[in-house]
Amino acid sequence: MRTRIGRSTIAAMCIAVLAGGCGGEKKTAEESAPATAASTTLVLYSGRSEGLVEPVIALFEKETGIDVQVKYGNTPELALTLREEGERGGADLFWAQDAGALGAVSKAGLFADLPADVVAGVPELFKHSGGKWVATSGRARVLAYSPERVKPEQLPKSVFDLTDARFRGRVAWAPTNASFQAFVTAMRKTHGEDTTRTWLEAMKKNGTHAHANNVAILQAIARGEVDYALPNHYYLLNFKKSEAKFPVDQVAFAPGDVGNLINVAGIGILATATHRDAAERFVRFVLSPTAQQYFASEVSEYPVIDNVMTNARLVTREELLKSAPRVTLDDLDDLDGTLALLRSVGLL
């Protein structure tokens, strides 16, 4: 009887060891890369999903011969890990999904300065003023709605209209989501603390449904639970990619409305980076037309440099910039104030 247990567990261990062995062989394809930087290995913490950024990383490895070891995870978890690692950490780069996490890592003094020439092609709007990190792509806040239950003329012009009685119980939002919180921060900067508080309270009173994330609020429209939602623009495009008839559409508010805020994903070089040159090369590459075109075409995001074709299903970047509110990335830094406000109105 004892031997039976022994055998089955040993069998399991063997499978595991074999499996581990297979796992280790993944880098063989890159071995033929140029020998110049063959010994360099970059360590990247990526809060952006593998599905979104892996092709760009592979292309970089192929072009430069620099090996990039990646740790994928949620942006907040990785930001917390970086803070706990502190100066003992071994990461070269942090690529995050949102400005809030980049701001927190930057405030903790963990980023090195980005050389001006690395980020030269990027407009001020997409750069951290302290030069610690740079946006790598943008996504817009939009109004998603059900085309079956909402006529075009019924669409609100401003995010402030949603407190109206005719939207009672028909709107979904995701108050715990970082992008939503960035939007609230933007509203505080553009319209002031009191207006924002009033709006949040009125929305809550109007029966706005709170969901866990952007995916859930779009599904809530599809399920017929609500008719409107406040997500980022690119989730719907993913839904439509897998299912053309997904019953949700989206639209921007009137130009300049804070509901059209542009959120960014961004990257910074860590102060602990041991391969500063290679890390700078990586940032340059992510900001290059090749990588930017990839984000625009494949991930349906907005490029941060000029002269890149935006996805046909999106508005052009010029239009986007015109419709966006006047908010800088630094304005979005004050996450604590927003969280305090959300807590005091009972949304967190």
């Binding site: 009887m1 004892r2 039976r4 247990i5 055998r7 089955s8 567990t9 069998a11 399991a12 261990m13 499978i15 595991a16 499996a19 581990g20 297979c22 796992g23 880098k27 360590v43 999903s49 593998e50 599905g51 979104l52 070891q69 740790k71 994928y72 995870g73 949620n74 907040p76 978890e77 990785l78 917390l80 890990t81 803070r83 706990e84 690692e85 003992r88 071994g90 996490a101 927190a104 715990t176 970082a178 709170a210 866990a212 994330n213 952007n214 995916v215 859930a216 779009l218 599904q219 599809a222 399920r223 017929g224 639970e225 719907l236 897998s242 299912e243 997904f246 019953p247 996450l335 807590r343």
Partner: protein
């Protein structure tokens, strides 16, 4: 009976006890940075009490519902002649293999006019969310824990007791109430504790179901605020509550003495003939399997069918290998460590051995995110070479999930008598040989259950994996989760399905090898 415990039991147990303190020490250190005013706003606020009440209400309902589902299933698969018991056993364990958020998405979608159900029948069903939704999803996810424990207890129970009770004139129902049920209590309490700790710690399911609990607040404090100080306070508060529960369970268990008093191996129980009850039994099993296995699996298949494009096969193989390479060793190690922990507290009862055994539960109750961050801090200072290695991840899994392994082992020990161990010693076998040749075989069902539980938990684990995994490391759960957060459900589906298949495969191999169901 009062012997000094042998070193091969005390050393591993002491090591575990110390290791569990690591994350708690970390939390305490972080908590010191707090500023009193902010502490009042964030931690000592009425809302946290409200959330706590929510959590406890949810936990009680989940425990009650899990018991009502698991007890009949455990009895049917161990004590009756029900045909197809092996399949029923698998179906009763499998829900554990389905990640909680898949169950969540499946239940949310069930009643949708645009979802898997309406795509077959053309109409939607009930819409589950909030308290009810969370309770249903967490029950589906947790009843297998109760099932596995009860099943182990049934399987290691001495049937001569029930036979004696019958021969003394008790009706079958009275025998069940007065003889069988009391013998299930230790195993049952172990499982209740695990369910309780799980519900207290869950944030994935409750956030999808829009039901706010205490750990949801804790998770948000970490994730939304990227804060380590006040989150540590909330985590310590949660730990204070769970420690109370862990101690309470111990008090309840302490005075139970359920060892067999007879000598020799327990005779095999005669299966109960179901007769006319076979059909209702299948109906019950059918309903449970439909909700807990068929529905989530159907949702996954539905995602998969949304688009023809297949995921990169290499990637799938790589994450499959990644998952297996850490989950299997952790399951093995946790089971290995559970034996001394349970054995010590059962056979060498003392204040210290009890504290050591309970410490495993504290490891389980420590929020995974805090648990992982604690190890980051300590390992980088004490042994940087150990950081971001697969071995560290295996260790973290083992320490975090050890409690799941202890329950079934302890339950087995509760019914195995120390007398035969003493007999073996008196016949000249040493403590190690006695343990190997006498005690271990009795623990077999418990060890199997322990390994399965830990393996399935590791397979789905996220926060520890994200934070402590080696670079360039992928698991099925990581990829699956990443795709679902981007609304790429078609891409997520093969990973979700692999998790379920791998779990089913390993569970059946273990049960098959042990040969209990023959």
């Amino acid at each position: 009976m009062k012997r000094t415990p042998p070193w091969f039991l005390t050393v591993p147990a002491l090591a575990v006890g110390l290791a569990v303190l690591v994350p708690i020490g970390y939390l305490a250190a972080r908590a010191f940075d707090a500023d009193p005013a902010t502490l009042r706003d964030l931690v000592w606020r009425a809302r946290n009490l409200e959330l706590l009440a929510n959590t406890l209400a949810l936990a009680s309902v989940v425990i009650a519902a899990s018991t009502l589902v698991a007890l009949p299933l455990a009895w049917l698969t161990t004590r009756t002649d029900l045909p197809g018991r092996f399949v029923v056993t698998l179906l009763s364990i499998l829900p554990l293999a389905i990640p909680g958020y898949v169950v969540g998405y499946a239940l949310l979608g069930i009643g949708a006019p645009h979802g898997p159900l309406s795509s077959i029948f053309g109409v939607g069903g009930p819409r589950l969310s909030g308290f009810v939704g969370a309770a249903v999803a967490l029950t589906i996810y947790n009843f297998p824990l109760v099932y596995l424990h009860l099943r182990t207890a049934f399987a290691s129970m001495d049937p001569s007791l029930t036979d004696a009770a019958r021969s003394l004139g008790l009706s079958p129902r009275r025998v069940f109430e007065r003889v069988t049920l009391p013998q299930l209590v230790p195993a049952y309490l172990s499982s209740v504790l695990l369910v309780l700790l799980y519900v207290l710690g869950d944030f994935g399911v409750v956030s999808l179901m829009r039901f706010e609990t205490f750990s949801y607040a804790l998770y948000l404090q970490y994730i939304a605020s990227l804060d380590r100080t006040y989150a540590a306070w909330l985590a310590l508060m949660l730990l204070a509550i769970t420690t109370t529960l862990v101690v309470a369970e111990f008090r309840l268990l302490r005075d139970l003495a359920l060892e067999r008093t007879g000598l020799g191996a327990p005779p095999k129980a005669r299966p109960r003939r179901l007769g006319a009850w076979t059909t209702p039994a299948y109906a019950f099993i059918g309903v449970v399997a439909l909700a807990s296995v068929a529905l989530p699996v159907w949702s996954i298949v539905y995602w998969m069918g949304q688009r023809g494009a297949w995921t990169d096969a290499n990637e799938l193989v790589r994450s499959f290998a990644g998952s297996l390479s850490v989950s299997a060793p952790a399951a093995f190690l946790a089971t290995l460590l559970a034996v001394p922990m349970a054995f010590l507290s059962r056979r060498h009862a003392s204040g210290l051995t009890h504290v050591l055994e309970r410490s495993a539960y504290i490891g389980y109750a420590t929020p995974a995110l805090a648990f992982a961050l604690g190890w980051v801090v300590v390992v980088l200072r004490a042994a940087p070479w150990f950081y971001q290695t697969a071995a560290l991840l295996v260790l973290a899994y083992t320490l975090h999930f050890l409690a799941q392994a202890i329950g079934p082992v302890r339950a087995g020990l509760h019914v195995a008598t120390p007398r035969i161990e003493e007999a073996s010693r008196s016949l000249g076998l040493g403590p190690l040989a006695t343990f190997r040749r006498v005690t271990l075989p009795i623990l077999r069902p418990g060890l199997t259950a322990a390994a399965i539980l830990v393996f399935l938990s590791c397979l789905k684990e996220l926060p520890l994996t994200i934070i402590l995994s080696p670079l360039d490391f992928e698991t099925l759960a990581l990829n699956m989760y990443a795709f679902t957060t981007e609304a790429m459900f078609a891409e997520a589906a093969p990973y979700a399905l692999s998790i379920v298949l791998l779990s089913a495969l390993l569970t059946s191999i273990l049960f098959h090898k042990v040969g209990e169901e023959r």
